[in-house]
């Protein structure tokens, strides 16, 4: 029988600080690869700005396609991070401690990536700031009735709050890192942690504000994806104009986000040697959330179709008919397979403990959720009110490159973060040490 690991404060610190050591060449090759993709996407973007959006395959009527899909996808990804860090914090879910930093980092970078997508999509990106209110001689302000302005506010608020939230969590951890390191690192970490020392007074305010931030982030996260869903639901277009979009999108966001957490955590835990801190118990819990939200999403698909059928609105009926059996039908069924059928495997505890399988499932869910947005966006636009103006979008090199660029950007930022800032919250792990020990005990008992 394997000895049950009994981590203490010091060991937790050591394990985490090990992740901050200067990385080896493999890491830099990985970063270099991602950077190359980002640069390539940047060049494609420059070309697109210079020549016009005609270099993409956007067209009448698919005015929106992959860029907005990416936007919704990345905003969605962001959501689970806040769920795990804020909502579960409020619910005092102890298992979140080990995973929440990964999730929250993912949130911050996913929102950042998401914020780039509407810029990529703008016809005149150099005027993007017209979306924000600022005093100007033209007397002109944005139209606050437009869901896109809500988006600008929601996403930028979300970005700010999630970065602050991430930063708040980081402060004591980075202070630990500061005190464990020397030289320029000490200086750097000292800057980041703002000279944190952990006095009782600081902790008092810290706890107060952390709780309140969690309390604010919770309604925020729900509002953000609701607002994103209203980008579509506010439009008249059949397939978009739907009252269930807000909860449907929020559930989908958490679903895809948790899947993304799994996708990131399973390799990261191995790569950074964090198996003792992120245990299969944690992963199991995540998988349960994935399963639960998958069921909600499946339910939403059914409700959506039912509403179309029940409304007898010919436009709706036709749009959904086309969605299932039209030129994009195969994407829809692939999406159903990825989002509704595959996650059912998670009912089995064995599957939830099988990391390889779980990783594959999480990847499939990511694909499925991307497709869901694409099917909703491009598919609904394709079969609009005017049959003469229907049209089906096919991705172009530029769009594919920029999409790849968003993934590369996200992964690059995440990878950089993971090696230079603590990717596991030592403070919270230490705080919840006894639950961690309990988890490890349970783990080894089950293994036996």
């Amino acid at each position: 029988m394997a000895a049950v690991p009994q981590p203490d404060y010091h060991e937790i610190d050591r394990t985490v600080m090990r992740t901050l050591e200067w990385p080896g060449w493999k890491y830099w090759v990985w970063i270099g690869f991602l950077f190359t993709v980002v640069v390539w996407a940047g060049l494609c973007w420059v070309n697109q700005i210079y020549n016009g959006l005609g270099v993409t395959n956007l067209k009448q009527p698919n005015m929106w396609a992959m860029y907005i899909t990416n936007f919704v996808f990345w905003v969605g990804i962001a959501h689970s991070g806040t769920l795990i860090s804020a909502i579960l914090y409020l619910f005092r879910s102890r298992w979140r401690t080990a995973v929440y930093r990964i999730a929250e980092t993912m949130t911050a970078f996913a929102v950042m990536t998401a914020g780039l997508c509407p810029l990529m999509h703008l016809g005149r990106v150099w005027f993007f700031y017209w979306l924000l209110p600022y005093p100007n001689e033209r007397w002109l302000q944005p139209d606050f009735r437009s869901p896109l302005v809500w988006d600008a506010f929601a996403v930028s608020t979300y970005l700010t709050i999630s970065i602050l939230f991430l930063f708040m969590g980081l402060i004591p951890d980075v202070a630990t890192a500061r005190d464990e390191s020397t030289g320029w690192r000490k200086f750097f970490y000292g800057l980041v942690c703002l000279g944190w020392q952990g006095s009782d007074d600081q902790w008092r305010h810290y706890k107060g504000v952390y709780l309140l931030l969690a309390g604010l982030a919770t309604p925020l996260v729900i509002s953000v994806h609701s607002v994103v869903s209203w980008d579509f639901a506010m439009a008249q277009l059949p397939g978009w104009h739907s009252t269930i979009f807000a909860p449907y999108f929020v559930a989908g966001a958490i679903f895809s986000g948790c899947a993304m957490v799994l996708t990131l955590m399973i390799p990261v835990r191995k790569w950074l040697d964090l198996e003792d801190l992120i245990t299969p118990w944690h992963i199991d819990n995540l998988a349960r959330i994935v399963l639960f939200t998958s069921l909600i999403v499946t339910y939403s698909y059914l409700v959506e179709s039912w509403m179309a059928w029940y409304s007898k609105d010919p436009f709706e009926v036709m749009t959904f008919h086309e969605r299932y059996f039209g030129p994009y039908g195969y994407l829809f069924w692939l999406m159903v397979f990825c989002n509704c059928i595959v996650p059912l495997l998670l009912f089995s505890a064995k599957v939830r403990r099988n990391l390889t399988l779980l990783f594959i499932i999480s990847l499939l869910i990511n694909v499925g959720m991307w497709l869901e947005r694409y099917v909703i966006i491009a598919g609904s636009l394709a079969t609009n009110f005017m049959p003469s103006q229907w049209g089906f979008h096919t991705p172009s090199v530029t769009e594919a490159s920029l999409t790849a660029g968003t993934f590369a950007f996200f992964l690059m930022m995440f990878s950089l973060f993971a090696r230079f800032l603590p990717i596991i919250s030592t403070t919270e792990l230490k705080e919840g040490l006894r639950w961690l020990r309990q988890a490890l005990r349970q783990e080894s008992a089950e293994a036996a």
Binding site: E137, R138, W139, G190, L191
Partner: protein
């Protein structure tokens, strides 16, 4: 650390200022315009009290105010020169025929293409030329007085309760 923050702030400031300077606003009226002929509005409009629309004759009936045809200059300067003790102009229009076609006034006031400005309704509404162009009759060389931007137009339009629909100027 403190210095770093200051440095970043200074960098942002410099960046912002240079952006503002580099982003030319070529539609703004230009104050550095030199005309091919040393024509003085002060003498013509100020001292001689020639009405603006004697020369800029299209202002009341068209989009453009128009620049006076050479004929109009010569009309006074050649035939009435003796009578009114005008400075007789024999160059460059009369002696040198070729040059007559070659007067190229440099524009002082320009608007971007997406702005439609009609002179005629403004003249009919009794707006003095000086309201936008400043006291031209005091200037030897016309230089802009006001920065004619959208706010400038809006101010006057709202004061006078004229439409500020977007389509008033942009189409």
């Amino acid at each position: 650390m403190k210095y770093g923050a200051i440095g970043v702030a200074v960098l942002i400031l410099i960046g912002g200022i240079s952006m503002a300077l580099l982003s030319q606003r070529p539609w703004l009226a230009r104050s550095d315009v030199v005309q091919p002929i040393p024509f003085s509005h002060r003498i013509h409009a100020g001292i001689r009290h020639i009405p603006c629309q004697y020369c800029h004759e299209y202002a009341r009936r068209s989009e453009n105010s128009g620049v006076p045809p050479i004929e109009r200059c010569v009309g006074c300067h050649a035939s009435l020169a003796q009578q009114f003790a005008l400075h007789p102009v024999d160059k460059p229009w009369i002696d040198h025929e070729q040059a007559a076609f070659d007067v190229r006034w440099n524009r002082v006031y320009t608007l971007p293409d997406f702005v439609r400005f009609y002179h005629s309704p403004h003249i009919h509404a009794g707006i003095a030329c000086q309201r936008c162009h400043g006291p031209v009759e005091t200037m030897d060389r016309v230089t802009p007085v006001y920065e004619i931007n959208m706010g400038f137009c809006l101010n006057c339009h709202t004061q006078r309760h004229v439409s500020i629909e977007c389509s008033t100027c942009h189409y």
